[in-house]
Symmetry: C2
Subunit: 181 residues, 2 copies
């Protein structure tokens, strides 16, 4: 299964552990400088984050994260196997967490959250003026609160540490730069 | 070892696999809605990213990442056990990758790259007008190229997918917003 990847070569791969949430692998590789070594990495599902603007206000979700404590984020989460696209996943997560759906959607590209650890991508979407229907948070989101904030306050929340999710922070600032001064 | 964490309760923890680069754990938990379940997560070192402006130009590193292919990033990487602080780690990574050191340093806060998978933080720093000394990239960075780009080009590179590292993208746009129109 030798596979060339740019200046790297992969010689073999073994799973180290596998659970429904993550799989860790060890690859035997040749590094860019020519020496042999190993590369341990983790497979997890891609994620989505949505910047939803309702009458100019940004929807932000606040919840207590098991690993990191209380945190603001943009609505979103892991893609399900049943999601046919990142856009469908983004629509699903937005309505589950906030009750909003539809609006005018824009593809905002994708980011790599921890490119040295996992190839997982975070797909970014925005939607303008979605309509309210009904929220249906998942069991682990029982404490989720939806806030409407100005883009200025969201940028301030990145700077002061309330909004610390990296992909959410990047999308908030992308929307703020788009809006202009 | 029962531990309350906001609306969560941790009952026990077992390691699933451990390597020098990562450790995966399974925690037995009570979820916010009151049901029992498990939470699998990964421990990896904190990281640092540095926005270094030299005569108004931003230093960007380009390399082929084993997991994600060619990518622009801000200089940075994982903290070493020997790093006494994220600032020291940022200074070390900047000089290793680009040859630049010192300058006027600013704390830009920290982000959580994948808050559902790992508590690891990415600590953000910026430095204005560091001085060139001598680069010393690590073996896996033998293909690393340093570019100097305008902040506008760096923001454009986030939008067009060249600069896809989430924490780097967030810091680039934070610096662009600081600069103003």
């Amino acid at each position: 299964m030798t596979e060339r990847r740019g200046p790297w070569v992969r010689h073999s791969r073994v799973p180290l552990c596998a659970t429904p949430r993550l799989t860790a692998y060890r690859d035997e590789v040749t590094l860019p400088h020519g020496m042999r070594g190993t590369y341990d990495w983790v497979q997890v599902p891609d994620q989505v984050r949505v910047g939803a603007l309702v009458n100019g206000a940004l929807l932000v979700v606040e919840q207590f994260h098991y690993l990191t404590g209380p945190m603001w984020q943009l609505p979103g989460g892991s893609m399900d196997p049943a999601d046919r696209s990142s856009r469908k996943a983004a629509e699903r997560e937005l309505v589950e967490e906030t009750g909003y759906r539809d609006g005018r959607w824009y593809d905002r590209g994708s980011l790599r959250a921890l490119p040295g650890l996992t190839p997982a991508q975070v797909h970014l979407w925005s939607t303008i003026d979605p309509a309210w229907s009904r929220a249906a948070p998942e069991p682990e989101e029982a404490d989720l609160v939806v806030r409407r904030v100005t883009l200025n306050e969201a940028v301030f929340a990145v700077r002061d540490g309330r909004l610390r999710c990296a992909a959410s922070a990047a999308l908030v600032m992308m929307l703020a730069l788009d809006r202009g001064p």
